[in-house]
C-alpha cells in the first residue's frame, strides 16, 4: 500500500505527472500568490479610495527601482541556468549559478534597505508621509516589506542549497524546488513594480 502511494507520488501515475515535492511547491506558490493578490487588491482599493495619491515619479527614483528590477530578473536567469546545469549533472556549474543567484538576492535586499532608509529619512511612516494620502506609506511598507521577507527567505534557501550542492547532498529536484521559489519571488516583483511604482 505504502509502496503504491509512493510510486504514484513519484509522478508516474499522475494526477499531474510530477513528483510530490513539485506539486506541493506549486500548491505553496498558488496559496502564497493569493496572499499577494489579496494585498494588491487591497492596495488597488485604497488607491481608488484616495483623494491625493502621491506621484511615484516624485517619491522614488525610477532608475534606482529599474536597477533593482534588473538585479532580480538577472538572478532569475542565473537560477534557471542553475536548474539546467543541475539537471545535466554539472554540479560545479550548478553551484556557481546558485551562488550568483544568492548574490543577486542579497544585492536586491541591500538596495531595498537603502530605499527604505532613504524614504524613512524623508518622513515616510506607516501612518503618514509628506507626499499625499496617508495610506501610501502603509501600502508601500506592507507590499515591499512582505516581498522583501520572501527575498530574504529565498536567499537563505539558496545558501542552504549551495552548501548542500557543494557537498553533493542536493538532487536536481532540490535545486529545481529552490528555483521555483526564486522565480515566484521575481514574478511577484513584476506585479509590484508595475502596479505600485509605475501606475
Amino acid at each position: 500500500m505504502t509502496t503504491t502511494t509512493i510510486d504514484r507520488w513519484a509522478g508516474g501515475a499522475c494526477p499531474f505527472e510530477a513528483g510530490w515535492r513539485k506539486v506541493m511547491m506549486w500548491w505553496f506558490i498558488v496559496t502564497d500568490g493569493l496572499l499577494f493578490a489579496g494585498f494588491l487588491a487591497a492596495y488597488g482599493y485604497g488607491r481608488i479610495l484616495a483623494f491625493h495619491w502621491p506621484d511615484t515619479a516624485e517619491v522614488f527614483s525610477l532608475k534606482y527601482i529599474a536597477a533593482m528590477t534588473f538585479v532580480l530578473i538577472t538572478s532569475s536567469a542565473t537560477m534557471a541556468s542553475a536548474v539546467d546545469a543541475s539537471r545535466r549533472g554539472d554540479r560545479r556549474q550548478a553551484l556557481r549559478f546558485v551562488g550568483l543567484t544568492a548574490i543577486g538576492g542579497a544585492a536586491f535586499l541591500g538596495m531595498q534597505a537603502y530605499e527604505w532608509r532613504h524614504l524613512i529619512a524623508e518622513g515616510a511612516r506607516l501612518s503618514r508621509n509628506p507626499w499625499g494620502d496617508a495610506a501610501f506609506g502603509s501600502y508601500f511598507f506592507l507590499l515591499t516589506g512582505f516581498h522583501g521577507s520572501h527575498v530574504l527567505t529565498g536567499v537563505i534557501v539558496l545558501l542552504t542549497t549551495a552548501v548542500r550542492t557543494a557537498k553533493g547532498l542536493t538532487s536536481a529536484d532540490g535545486v529545481e524546488m529552490a528555483g521555483l521559489y526564486w522565480h515566484f519571488v521575481d514574478l511577484v516583483w513584476v506585479f509590484i513594480f508595475t502596479l505600485f511604482y509605475l501606475l
Binding site: A18, Y45, F51, A80, H183, F184, V190
Partner: protein
C-alpha cells in the same frame, strides 16, 4: 540554457519599454492598458520559461492560472467598484 538568456533579454526589453512609456506622453487609458498587458506578458514569460510551466502537465498550468489570475481578477473587480463609490458619495454629501 540559451533559452533562459533569451528570456532574460526579452524581460529586460519589456522592462525598458515600460520605463519608456512611464516618461512618454501617452493618454492615461492607453498607458494603463499597455502597462497591464506588459506586466501580464512578463509574468507569463517567467512562468512559461523560467518555471517551466510550458512543459508541465496541463492540470498544474490550469491550477496556477485559474488559482492565481482568475481569483486575483475576481477579487479586484468585486471590490474596486465599491471603492469608486466614495467619490460619488463625496460629490453628493461632502467629505464629512
Amino acid at each position: 540554457m540559451k533559452t533562459y538568456w533569451i528570456t532574460w533579454c526579452v524581460l529586460l526589453a519589456f522592462t525598458a519599454a515600460m520605463l519608456w512609456a512611464d516618461t512618454a506622453s501617452i493618454p492615461r487609458l492607453a498607458f494603463v492598458g499597455f502597462m497591464l498587458a506588459a506586466m501580464l506578458t512578463k509574468a507569463s514569460i517567467i512562468g512559461a520559461n523560467f518555471m517551466h510551466l510550458r512543459s508541465e502537465h496541463p492540470g498544474i498550468v490550469a491550477t496556477v492560472v485559474v488559482g492565481l489570475l482568475v481569483t486575483g481578477v475576481i477579487l479586484y473587480l468585486l471590490i474596486a467598484p465599491d471603492a469608486a463609490r466614495i467619490h460619488e458619495m463625496v460629490a453628493a454629501y461632502g467629505r464629512k
